[in-house]
Symmetry: C2
Subunit: 197 residues, 2 copies
DNA sequence: ACTTCAAGATACAGATCTGTATCTGAAAAC
DNA sequence: GTTTTCAGATACAGATCTGTATCTTGAAGT
């Protein structure tokens, strides 16, 4: 199939971003050279510098892209008919590429942490994720009295999810995919129980 | 004060390790060159290669050193007369350097994750920390019936602590130092309450 | 079809980094 | 006090990486 010039250019950009994501996960942002990225994508450095200012800008783009994707996923999961089962399914689906995915996420976090300009993007992602949890919790406690401020409970759930993903990455054999959901369900159960009592 | 040759050499090693820790936190392991490390420590590359094979070996040493320190701290905190208050104090003390400390920790984690040889060290640290939590929880539930396997509850507490530290690093103004302890206390409270009911 | 234009390849200059090999000066040994 | 030894500095060769400047080729426009 013949591609229009614009399409071809977009495809090149996309391939470069995908190759960069792979290499960043494998060797870290600083460990992957522009040359390696271009080569992995099937091009030379010329294509890279034609599409991005430099590696710094590409990292910014990648972070933007990944943040957007994650926010979309959050929305989809929340709007599912059975959110808990949806999250469970999500964890199972991510299982194969968990290390790659989480490593890249961590690399981007560290990078953003060191660069004032793109740091707000990081903050935005966290805030939205936490707000989503807050709403879910408020809904779950409609009527009942939660054991603490819903925003605080949401922070706990959010941090717990993140921490458990890391543990799952470090001990893939020992920790089941469902642990994340199981743990959150346990918390919600004990919280609602203590609310009734 | 005059130093013996052996002392001087040990001092040099120590300074190089400290300088490396600083730079790894600032720019990442791959972002810090051997030259920069030596310079920050007040030496030249000659001193570096006289004390370490290469950067790879130094990272291994650093990981070993930091792991040991953390394990010591865990022991000290556990054996304190009032562990909870001790942990609270620990969090306050770390507040100033939290970002530097946690960034380095994350960098070392990523590095170990990518190097099969030193990966066991990482696993050891996590295992010991989790075991310590398991014992604490078993003690807390002596007699009562916990809402789940103590090892599972320990995993939750451990992951939650890690996740909250990250959140505290990302939002230093928004999240208080005590949040980590407060959150764990909340969990323990609701768990024991649900155990009584 | 012929011209124009731009995506991507190639070539080049400069910077940086690594690792080794050699040198120097001060502590240790006698 | 002289000799030996070793920690750390200096010098060097090779590799790699970045960014720009120029070239080539195929799509777009007429």
């Amino acid at each position: 199939m013949r591609l229009t010039r614009e399409q071809s250019r977009a495809q090149t950009r996309e391939r470069l971003l995908a190759a960069a994501a792979e290499l960043f996960a494998e060797r870290g942002v600083n460990g992957a050279s522009v040359e390696q990225i271009a080569e992995r994508a099937g091009y030379t450095r010329g294509a890279f510098y034609g599409n991005f200012e430099d590696k710094h800008q590409l990292v910014g783009e990648l972070l933007r892209q990944r943040t957007l994707r994650e926010l979309e996923e959050v929305t989809v999961l929340q709007e599912a008919e059975n959110p808990w089962e949806a999250v469970r399914e999500w964890n199972r689906a991510r299982a194969d590429h968990l290390t790659e995915w989480l490593t890249l996420r961590t690399e981007l976090m560290l990078y953003a942490l060191r660069n004032e300009e793109i740091r707000p993007q990081l903050a935005e992602r966290e805030t939205i994720a936490r707000d989503a949890h807050t709403r879910t919790i408020e809904r779950a406690f409609a009527g009942k009295k939660p054991p603490a401020d819903p925003a605080f409970l949401a922070l706990i759930v959010h941090a717990l999810e993140d921490g458990l993903l890391v543990q799952r990455m470090l001990f893939p054999d020992e920790i089941a995919d469902d642990v994340v959901v199981d743990a959150v369900e346990l918390l919600m159960r004990t919280w609602t129980r203590s609310a009734e009592g």
